[in-house]
């Protein structure tokens, strides 16, 4: 086991609700920031997305997620399990069988993540266009850019 998990919780929940959102940005060690990082993690996103409505075994997840190593998959699953987002069920059979599925908490996160994915899918064209424009003008204009008023 490696696992360097935070010894200092550093709570910053009930600071003040003057700003409905936007207060979570200051404290670096803030718990919300930390959870956000975990949840917005590359592999976590994929795992949660895949576990919607279907239970998957370790190998199935590994097969589905192109490019993930078993090391990262294990680590990601452990994190998600620890956070109560994913349930791990071990069957004590002779060829080991372990099932993974979303907890209600994980399922509630899923819709949010799906929204993010959907946004990305819907706007990938625009982003591609923006990138092309940016790259071209950056290439063409080594000096003088922006509001040349």
């Amino acid at each position: 086991m490696e696992e360097g998990t935070f010894p200092a919780p550093g709570s910053c929940e009930g600071t003040d609700d003057e700003f409905d959102v936007m207060h979570w940005d200051s404290r670096e060690d803030c718990e919300v920031r930390q959870i956000l990082d975990r949840v917005a993690d590359k592999w976590s996103l994929l795992v949660i997305a895949l576990l919607e409505r279907r239970t998957l075994r370790f190998t199935e997840l590994k097969r589905e997620i192109d490019g993930i190593s078993q090391r990262m998959l294990t680590q990601t699953l452990r994190h998600l399990e620890r956070d109560g987002l994913v349930r791990r069920t071990v069957y004590p059979v002779v060829p080991p069988r372990v099932d993974y599925d979303l907890t209600p908490l994980g399922a509630s996160l899923h819709s949010t993540i799906k929204a993010l994915v959907t946004w990305t899918e819907e706007h990938q064209r625009e982003i591609a266009v923006a990138r092309n424009r940016y790259d071209l003008q950056a290439d063409a204009a080594p000096v003088a850019a922006g509001a040349t008023a």
Copy 2:
């Protein structure tokens, strides 16, 4: 400039829409995966959140986001600008002034990101509880866990 930006675009947009979502997970070099990574990035999240409804200057952003280095802030802003999410406005004044704000595209992403942040805020208690439970039982049970049916 460092910037290692992908020479191979690797499109995977119009593959098939049998699965409304859930097809974006396989191709590792998929553009959606790449955009998702950028958008779900730790610092990007914070920058976009902060730029809601207010225009900020470089130093203001740096001050607001605790723990970010100028290197990372610059890099993040450049990426977001390139993706068409953030607009950068340079005023050719003697003490340089550069303003950052969201483009319409960036603004459209903001609501999605806000949803993610809100989810995190709303469920941080549950996650904390889950973590405690996990840590305690993992500590207490070095052997035999899960469905001991």
